[in-house]
């Protein structure tokens, strides 16, 4: 049910942009006002959420240790999965953020016939997740060409690599294919794996459909319904340099572009209110970003407060005679 709701929500968004631009002639709203609003919401919302997390302290040193601790000099420490230095943590976090190290550990646990539990490889989620996130990033970087007058060399290189499997013209970007396949896989596993379907909320399907919509409109625009690319670049340059575009420029770009841009705007505006914030959150996770050195260096809890304890004196008062009877030394006879 969640998936159907999310699907129609995205369809509705597409229709809003389509009708708004083609029937309502609201190019200015969809091309200027909404993108600006979305970016403002994204930036302030993102910062607000991160500050909100940051406002709660980390009272205890609680890394999840996934390897041998540093103890005796002759025992080989796992310096990455159980880091005792900041460098170790940096490497651990880099592997986590760039390569999804923890997800790579994934196993499939199954109960076989003879009541045996068997553990199998389960790398598809890791692969699809990695493929999706990296293509998303590369696509985002590629789009910088619209915001910079002279396309910088690194971006040209990325474009060149991304399109080395040239199929006719225009060049086919590998990332376009990868992102569509990966997101489709991520959607299908939500639908077809009973456990994953059971835990999925509308808020899990919605971003998937939204991203599918963004990628699909992008692909359609590039390969099928051609839009005025020069106009798009002029608009984009204008937006980043706060120059108000004229009506003629806005009208000269095809409607598909506005649908694409509207979905992107929704994506960014939705971001701070959603699970997509895992992008910022992963860096702040105390089980991953802390040094496992809590016996070497005292970790301070800012809200540590004195507590009521049962003191030794009270204990001795309770048991003095019994202690003396058992030959245990006491403070006061």
């Amino acid at each position: 049910m969640g998936s159907i709701f999310a699907f129609f929500a995205v369809i509705a968004l597409v229709l809003i942009a389509f009708v708004g631009v083609s029937a309502g002639n609201m190019q200015y709203l969809f091309g200027v006002v909404i993108p600006y609003a979305a970016m403002i919401i994204f930036i302030t919302g993102f910062i607000f959420r991160v500050l909100k997390w940051g406002s709660s302290p980390v009272p205890f040193c609680i890394p999840t240790t996934c390897g041998q601790q540093k103890s005796l000099p002759w025992i080989k420490q796992n310096k990455i999965d159980n880091p005792s230095t900041t460098i170790g943590v940096v490497v651990r976090m880099a592997l986590e953020v760039l390569l999804f190290r923890s997800l790579f550990r994934n196993l499939k646990t199954q109960l076989s016939e003879g009541q045996r539990i068997v553990y199998g490889e389960a790398k598809w989620l890791w692969l699809a997740g990695l493929a999706f996130h990296w293509s998303f990033l590369i696509i985002l970087v590629r789009h910088l060409r619209f915001f910079i007058q002279k396309v910088p060399v690194p971006i040209q290189m990325i474009e060149g690599l991304d399109s080395f499997l040239q199929i006719g013209a225009p060049l086919l970007y590998i990332t376009d294919v990868v992102i569509l396949s990966a997101v489709t896989y991520l959607f299908l596993r939500r639908v077809f794996m009973p456990q994953v379907r059971y835990i999925s909320l509308p808020a899990d399907y919605f971003p998937l459909f939204l991203i599918l919509g963004i990628a699909a409109t992008g692909v359609l625009m590039r390969y099928f319904f051609k839009v005025n690319v020069t106009g798009v670049k002029e608009l984009a340059m204008g937006l980043v340099s706060f120059i108000n575009p004229d009506a003629k420029l806005l009208e000269g770009i095809g409607v598909i572009f506005y649908i694409h841009l509207f979905l992107i705007s929704i994506f960014f505006a939705y971001f701070p209110f959603s699970k997509l914030m895992h992008m910022g959150g992963v860096f702040m996770s105390p089980t991953r970003n802390m040094v496992n050195n809590s016996r070497m260096k005292r970790h301070i809890n800012p809200w540590n407060y004195p507590v009521k304890v049962h003191t030794y004196d009270e204990y001795e008062d309770d048991f003095r005679e019994k202690m003396k009877g058992a030959g245990i030394p006491v403070e006061r006879e």
């Binding site: 996934c66 196993l107 456990q195 994953v196 992963v282 702040m284």
Partner: protein
């Protein structure tokens, strides 16, 4: 309550198909043998917990205090402000499901609310409904729901079906740790007096008497007397432990379970023999006679209150440093919490082994060393004379405790000791050991008897891995470094893998330790004949 009688074959038939109704629309069913009895009000009052009252989990009416919803929501707000982990873990889960089949309770029950992700959603849904804009506006579409009596019962039921083992957090791409969420859930249920007897009893006992079992000082010395007698029978040597002795170099703290129940008692005998042989200047304490800390399974504050005794006693006795025995959650606490709570331990010295001169730099602030670190160092320096052939009748495997593996990283030290004390050591399958180890099924104060089905189901994955090495290598001894393991795994093995015994690592050491002036050994620490040595007498 009817006695739990299900056979292993029945229990191992697990249905993993989720119910037809969505989880928010599937009300919790509090099932017999899956939960613990309620705490007695008196025990909660001993430590000053709020809203202590008589209630029963399977009653319709839990006799909740007035305005309980407000108590919970204000409690949540407080905890969200105190713990970044909690706030973050409420927000960033993407429900990828990687954690789902990593939980021993999910594997053993097939109940989807035992998937860590869903156990967390039980609380996230209330968080969203009350603390997030999207949840307040979009309600169910945003995965939000109201806090109702049924939701509270669901929290209680499932937060006391989690042993805070952290296995899920190893696999989570953001390191979301269900243990943190369960801890918050238990903090909140404790605001309403909804604790369980198996936790509240030991907490009250530990607070007043110094240990979970409520052993009074003279009982501790007399149980130790039994060990001393047994050691003399076995070795001909009379060891001489001291209690509350001022001026000792080292304070030794271990879980009280090892002073009371088999097979932990044999581990305690192992300690006594080792320390005697080394001539260690150490003392036991009857005031700080508990390394474990069931307070940790209630509230952070309670855990700190119980833990305070260790440093207080070390200071009173004027020892140089502290040595800690084999225990799981005790070491999570000593490693990750103690110094923060009750430090700095500036009245102690950085620990140095008096035998080898090794400085334990990894414990230079907390000033407390794990006995496995201590003994591994002794063996490495050749300070112990060991005769591993005495353990030749044992085929040993090692169970990593959740807390020492995922909340510390003590993996190789116990293995090194076992390999030096035993000639036959076999590892369980790779995906069930070290950081991927499975819980015994009875941690966090769930080792009661009325919840036996839960414990056996939770212990199923571990038992299954033991069964594997039992069948392939004839493994008959499951070694571990945790007092709860020693109690819980014994029950689990009897049920799932009969014929496999359970022991602490230092029982194995005690067996093979060649002590100066000892007589020819014919018995092991269990006073059972040593195979091949019976004829020598």
């Amino acid at each position: 309550m009817a006695k739990f009688t299900a056979k292993p074959d029945e229990l191992a038939k697990i249905d993993f198909r989720p119910p037809r109704t969505g989880w928010m629309d599937t009300p919790v069913e509090i099932k017999e043998h899956m939960f613990c009895h309620a705490a007695k009000p008196k025990e909660l009052e001993t430590v000053g917990f709020p809203n202590a009252h008589e209630w029963r989990p399977n009653d319709e009416d839990w006799k909740l205090p007035e305005n309980w919803e407000r108590t919970i929501l204000e409690g949540m707000k407080d905890l969200l402000g105190k713990y970044r982990s909690f706030r973050l873990f409420m927000d960033i889960c993407v429900r990828c499901g990687a954690c789902a089949d990593k939980c021993h309770f999910y594997i053993g029950t097939g109940d989807p609310k035992n998937m860590p992700v869903l156990r967390a959603e039980l609380m996230r849904s209330v968080y969203r409904g009350n603390f997030t804009l999207a949840g307040k506006i979009l309600r169910k579409i945003a995965g939000a729901r109201d806090l109702t009596v049924n939701v509270l019962k669901e929290w209680w039921y499932y937060f006391y079906q989690c042993t805070e083992c952290r296995r899920c957090s190893v696999f989570c791409p953001y390191g979301i740790d269900q243990a943190e969420i369960t801890m918050m859930g238990r903090e909140l249920t404790n605001l309403l007096g909804l604790n369980i007897g198996w936790i509240a009893g030991p907490v009250a006992a530990c607070y007043m008497k110094g240990n979970h079992l409520g052993l009074e000082p003279h009982t501790i010395t007399s149980s130790m007397e039994f060990f001393v007698d047994d050691i003399e029978t076995i070795t001909g040597i009379r060891v001489n432990p001291t209690f509350n002795r001022k001026g000792a170099e080292i304070l030794f703290v271990t879980p009280s379970g090892d002073l009371f129940a088999n097979p932990g008692t044999y581990t305690a005998m192992g300690y006594l023999m080792l320390f005697h042989e080394l001539g260690l200047d150490y003392t036991w304490s009857t005031y700080a006679s508990e390394g474990g800390n069931f307070g940790f399974f209630t509230t952070n504050e309670m855990a700190k209150r119980l833990n305070s005794k260790i440093y207080a006693e070390a200071k009173r006795l004027g020892v140089k440093w502290i040595l800690g025995g084999e225990c799981g959650h005790m070491w999570r606490i000593i490693h990750q919490y103690m110094d923060t709570w009750n430090g700095p331990a500036d009245f102690l010295e950085a620990p140095v082994s008096p035998i080898t001169g090794t400085r334990f730099d990894n414990a230079k602030a907390t000033r407390m060393v794990h006995i496995a670190e201590f003994t591994a160092d002794l063996i490495r320096h050749g300070k112990l004379k060991l005769d591993p052939s005495r353990n030749d009748h044992l085929k040993v495997t090692f169970h990593d405790s959740c807390n020492t593996s995922r909340g510390m990283g003590l993996l190789e030290e116990p293995r090194y000791i076992i390999k030096n004390a035993c000639n036959h050591f076999y590892e369980m399958p790779e995906d069930t050991i070290r950081e991927k180890t499975f819980c015994c099924g009875s941690g966090t104060g769930l080792n009661a008897s009325e919840n036996m089905e839960l414990r056996l189901r939770g212990g199923f994955p571990r038992a299954n891995a033991v069964k594997h090495v039992n069948e392939h290598h004839g493994v008959n001894m499951l070694a571990n470094v945790c007092a709860i393991d020693r109690a819980a795994l014994t029950t689990s093995m009897d049920y799932w893998v009969p014929g496999v015994s359970v022991c602490g690592v230092h029982e194995l050491v005690g067996n093979v330790l060649v002590m100066k002036g000892e007589k020819e050994r014919t018995q092991d620490l269990r006073l059972e004949p040593l195979p091949g040595k019976e004829g020598n007498e």
